[in-house]
Every structure is written in structure tokens, then in C-alpha cells.
Symmetry: C2
Subunit: 124 residues, 2 copies
DNA sequence: TTAGTGTATTAAAACAATTAATACAGTTAA
DNA sequence: TTAACTGTATTAATTGTTTTAATACACTAA
């Protein structure tokens, strides 16, 4: 389900958090679907259960999953995922566009660059 | 010139690198302009000269500045800065748009979101 | 009851970032 | 030439964070 990259300098719990979040956002793990148990996932990745637990707690804090003692951890409801997904995406877009403005790109510059890029990305 | 954020979890040398890069991209520090010496900047920020040196070496590796023993460190030529700036910006845009595609947003979704955001950002 | 869940705690180990003290090599101006 | 300034390099010690490890607790389900 996940492959760790030990060349990546980021902490493992952060890698796990981010990769799970992507799988959830892409719909690979569906809303309300059960995630692997903390211990199973730890065995799968050959790391400590505490590290997985930390990733799950991070995701729960952000709203992407919810955990129930004795039952397991589950992806949040579809509406919630959609809400978070859009919110994070708009935030990221806002950041990069503000950055472009700060660097002196005009609104038209950016729109042109983006149209170009969208075409490239969606024609693959 | 730079203010460090000790609540930021990123390493200091990385913060310095990133903040200097932004100042250079914004033109606050002009092409060919001399940067503060490693030791002066270290005193200014109350950190170790080695940490500043590391940031400068990072920026030199990326092409944003060049350092000359005995003389100092200088922002690269205007054309070089422009080249790097555009290249990094396009790369960042490509990443976020690919991400949007992966999450199931259509090209039109993204274009709409971006037009919205550009308007917001440029009307402040 | 038994086996499976998530969670919490504490200590130790491992790793990366930072500091510190020096030293070296080059430039510039008095 | 000398003095003061540059960037760079090295090594050791310190610090903080991440990760592991070993347990324990509380809850659920068959």
C-alpha cells in the first residue's frame, strides 16, 4: 500500500501521513473504508507501531480519518474528504500565486503560465 | 534583512536559504549586489557563521549567488536570476497541477479555481 | 475468554542540526 | 608589508528530534 523512501530526509511518520493522505484524496482508499491496523501496517513497513500510530493521529487531527479504540481507523466521510481536499488545494494555489505576485509576475503572466501547464499536464 | 522563526521546525540554514532566495527573486537584493558577509550576517541573526555559510553554499549550488574568497558573496546576474525564477515557478506550478489531476479535478475545475484565486490575490 | 483494535508512557538509541574553536586562503586598503 | 576583511574547511561537542523498544491500558468482536 505504501513504500517508504529512506533517501527522503523527512521523518518516516511524515512520509506515512503524506502518502496516506494522497491515497485518500485520490480515492484509492475510499471514504469510510478501514485502514490497516497500526500493528499490521507496522509489520508491512518493518517499522515501529508507534510511528504508524503517530501518522494516524496526525491524519485524525487533520480530519482525514477517525480512529475508534478496539475497532480500527477509518477514512472520514466523503463530504469531509471533499471539503478538506478542496480547502487544502485552494490554499496551496493561493500560496503559489501570491508567491508569483511577490516575484513580480503579472496576473496575466501567471494565467498564461498556468494555461500552458494545464495543457501539458492534461495531454499526457 | 531576515528574521528567523524559531517556531518553524525547519533547520535554520534552510530558513536562511529560502528567505534569501525570496529576497533575491523579489529584487530586494539586486543582481550583482553584495550580500552581507558570512560573519556579519551571523552576528545579525545571533547564530553560528557555519550556518550562514551553509546557506550561502546552498544558494551558490543552485546558482542564485556566487562567492569569491576574500571578496564576498554576490547575487548572480539578472538573466540567471530570471531563468532560475521562471524555471522554479513553472516546476512548482506543474507539481500542483499534476497533484490536482491525480486527485480527480478536471482541467476546467483547476482553471476555474485558479482564475478565482488570481483575482483574489491581485485585488488586494 | 481470546484475539484483535487504538492509545499512552518511558527509556534508550540513532540521527541531524547547530555550535564552537580554529585554521587556511584569498582580497583590499592603509 | 601589514592589518582587517572576505569565504571555506575541519573536528568535536551539544542539542533536539525521530525512532525504536518494551509494556501497559481500554475497548470491541467473535
Amino acid at each position: 500500500m505504501i513504500i517508504l523512501d529512506y533517501k527522503d530526509k523527512r521523518p518516516i511518520f511524515e512520509q506515512v501521513t503524506e502518502k496516506l493522505k494522497r491515497l485518500i484524496c485520490k480515492g484509492v482508499i475510499a471514504p469510510e473504508e478501514k485502514l490497516p491496523s497500526v500493528r499490521n501496517m507496522a509489520v508491512e513497513l518493518s517499522i515501529n507501531p508507534n510511528t504508524i500510530s503517530r501518522a494516524y493521529q496526525q491524519l485524525e487531527g487533520e480530519g482525514y480519518i477517525y480512529s475508534v479504540k478496539g475497532k480500527g481507523s477509518f477514512v472520514a466521510a466523503e463530504e469531509e474528504i471533499m471539503r478538506l481536499k478542496c480547502s487544502e488545494y485552494k490554499h496551496a494555489l493561493g500560496a503559489i500565486i501570491s508567491d508569483g505576485k511577490a516575484q513580480g509576475f503579472s496576473a496575466q503572466d501567471i494565467i498564461n503560465l498556468i494555461n500552458e501547464t494545464v495543457k501539458e499536464v492534461y495531454n499526457d
